[in-house]
Amino acid sequence: MTDGADIQAGRLNGAVLAENFADVHRPFDAAGAAVEASRCYFCYDAPCIGACPTGIDIPGFIRAIATGNLTGAARTILEENIMGGSCARVCPTEILCQGDCVRNGVGDRPVEIGLLQRHATDHLGGGGPHPFNRADDTGRSVAVVGAGPAGLACAHALARQGASVTVFEGRAKPGGLNEYGIAAYKVPDDFAQDEVAFITAIGGIEMRYGQALGRDLTLAQLRNDFDAVFLGLGQGGVRALDVPGAELDGVHNAVDYIADLRQADDLTTLPVGRRIVVIGGGNTAIDIAVQTKRLGAEDVTMVYRRGPEQMGATGHEQAFAQTNGVRIKHWLRPVRLEGEGGVRAAVFQGVELAADGALVDTGGEQAMPCDMVFKAVGQSFVPLAADGPDLTAGRIAVDESGRTSLSDVWAGGDCVAGEDLTVQAVQDGKVAAGAIADYLKNMGS
């Protein structure tokens, strides 16, 4: 290895980058939305509702779009899911609502529920009056830790019912993964911040930034200062890639790079390698692969140790990556990363499934020359201090209402077991808010 790694900023000019990171889904115009809405059969007890973790009345809001009642459509959505706008953009609809659309059954394509939801929620995003009113102040206070989807949904629902909510966020901005983690072209134009502003416009929500639990705050203090606490913590840990060379320059955690990309004011200043190897098979792997490709990387390869069916990324996401020119290789296990100072190659070993289900080496190594390696092999919840609630399988244990082993503490989102989806986090926050509101009502004064 005599020459250095080829990592540089500005591989593409600003105009091309602006196009590459603009809205990946073209929104409907009014006529297009009306036509698509008319494709909905308005099913009885529609299966799509059951497939939505927040249980939105999907045929109801689609019919409202069809009749031109966009305000009603948006309210129907937001009543169940206050982050309906971001869910419309980031939900893997092909495995949720659209996956259960009855139109799939006739060799047809499902109704574009996600895009219709976006059409409706965008209608209210134009700075009009907030669709919900806050109840009279109850005098009760709740601390919400984490300003991601779970925390914001919980805060909104509680504030709506008259509680005074203080949201403590460790980072400088709210939104959680919507602000720092989702691929840029899914939520362009500062959508995450606009949505937070919309949510907090209900009133009764105080936002405090740079306040991380365990660093700036203790759970004991919050439990002392507030009537109840909701923990909407993310997965702060990144699983390690346990191979030689993982410490080389040019080897990055995908989530860190994506956060930098999301916060970059000028994408032409973001250095990116000419040849990229992404290790992992989830949506984060897809997002880093596609985004580096769109930043101008010449050659991007995703490497996963199992097959396409086992990938965490949906088939839709895999196809999206491939359409973007990302090569996906399966049944390869990372062995080591090579290079002096900077990584210059990733070496893999072929694997296959043995009869007992274990992965076994098939022999033979292959080296992929590269300038950057991204690790996207999963994130993990970083447990709280000893006074925290009980855990189960590494995450906070909760009952069906989101209540933890501590009677005044609830939790939801990525810090509890379940699907790691924005829409699930919203539902967790909403359900917990309902339980917390009951708890507050029944508290002695």
Partner: protein, 428 residues
């Protein structure tokens, strides 16, 4: 290939597809294009007395259903707004250039003999194949005592028809308005006056929609709206019924019928012909898609006729009329029950909720979510067909005959009818 040639009421055309009197037939330029495209005939847009009328802007309104544009259409346009001599010269030239095509001329002048005599003579000089008396236009002209104002008074229909028949050797078609209580009254009047054919339907009185911001019916003319004439696919069922009523009326026998109303496809045309239309006229379809739709109308009708073994139009003309009966003649013992094909069912539940909420509670649901099953409760099913109509999947719900062993019995024979007689025929 079947023979599509038509010859009725003294007018010949290479196929039964004519363009109705309307904007597409207002001038030689359009008609020339239509004939080049293959249309079998035109009824030239209505001529009147000079000076020509004046039109407004805008003139059209439309109903769109689920993104399908112009399912229904209406207009507030009047008759031709061009000078009479210009139209007559163009008609003469067109007929000379296209001798094999049918060229009829629609006419509308005041209800007096002199103007009719004058204009009929002028049209006859063009060599046109016939005239169509516009007794149907429901807006504007009717306020001036013409159009539907004539068509709604059978005595006027008969009188003017008789004048015209006595004034010209040309075949006389009478265009009827549907805006009457009983279509047979003006149809029989036309017959009594000697009409060679009736043409129907003209447009239906309509307000297409209300602009909720302007608070005015559409189309609006400087903030106001007027009622217009409704046409397009939405009016086809109305037209089919009125055509069939005349076709099966013994008093109207011998009078040809030119069917009009929502015809856009060969299938529409075939349906009109089976109910007694000798030919058909089209307008909204070409205003929506252009003249090229004639290609499939001709080709589709040909293929359908070939498949059925029909060599010419007359082979199926009126074929459905014997089966168009009054309600009291239907077999009350015929029984159907809904059968849901579980392999085709997509679990939308529309059949269930339609039956449950609005009909006979005859479709059960078991299970939940995508795995649920909908099935007919035979004992409750009255065979009404609602479920099959709401089902979005083709042929998923079939209405299956029940072999109940009962013979044909109509209402006039039914013991449940207090006026029934054993031999049939209600005692009144």
């Amino acid at each position: 290939m079947a023979d599509l040639r038509c010859d009725f009421a003294g007018v010949k055309s290479p196929n039964p597809f004519w363009l109705a009197s309307a904007p597409p037939t207002d001038k030689a330029y359009n008609v020339e294009r239509a004939f080049k495209a293959g249309w079998g005939g035109v009824v030239w847009k209505t001529l009147g007395e000079d000076p020509p009328i004046v039109n407004t802007t805008s003139r059209y309104g439309a109903v769109a259903v689920n993104g399908q544009r112009m399912v229904g259409f209406n207009n507030i346009e009047l008759i031709t707004d061009r000078p009479l001599d210009v139209n007559l010269a163009e008609i003469k030239q067109i007929k000379r250039d296209w001798p094999d095509r049918a060229v009829l001329v629609s006419l509308m002048v005041p209800c007096e003999e002199a103007p009719w005599k004058k204009i009929l003579g002028a049209v006859e000089d063009t060599g046109a194949d016939g005239v169509e008396l516009n007794f149907g236009c429901p807006h504007g002209m009717s306020e001036r005592g013409m159009g539907a104002a004539v068509g709604q008074v059978p005595e006027y229909v008969e009188m003017v028809t008789r004048w015209c028949k006595s004034m010209t050797r040309m075949p006389v078609f009478v265009k009827l308005t549907p805006n009457v209580t009983n279509i047979l009254a003006p149809a029989r009047a036309a017959k009594a006056g000697g009409a060679d054919a009736v043409a129907l339907i003209n447009t239906v009185n309509s307000i297409i929609s209300v602009d909720l911001d302007l608070m005015a019916p559409t189309p609006t003319v400087d903030g106001k709206g007027s009622h217009g004439g409704y046409c397009g696919p939405a009016v086809k069922p109305i037209a089919l019924n009125l055509v069939a009523q005349i076709a099966r009326d013994p008093e109207c026998a011998g009078m040809a019928i030119s069917g009009i109303g929502g015809i856009e496809t060969w299938r529409d045309a075939a349906e009109f012909i089976t109910l007694g239309s000798d030919g058909v006229q089209v307008c909204t379809g070409v205003m929506h898609y252009g003249f090229k739709i004639i290609d499939d109308m001709i080709d589709g009708l040909n293929n359908w006729m070939d498949g059925k073994g029909y060599g010419r139009i007359s082979d199926f003309h009126g074929a459905a009329i014997p089966n168009f009966v009054d309600w009291q003649d239907l077999n009350i013992n015929a029984e159907l029950v809904a059968r849901i094909d579980q392999d085709k069912c997509i679990k939308c539940g529309l059949c269930h909720i339609a039956c449950e909420d609005t009909a006979h509670q005859a479709i059960s649901v078991s299970g939940t979510g995508p795995a649920r099953i909908f099935d007919t409760i035979d004992a409750e099913c009255v065979g009404c067909n609602l479920c099959a109509h709401v089902c979005p999947v083709e042929n998923c719900i079939e209405m299956v005959p029940v072999d109940n062993g009962k013979p044909y019995m109509n209402w006039t024979q039914d013991p449940r009818n207090p006026h029934a007689t054993a031999a049939g025929g209600a005692v009144e």
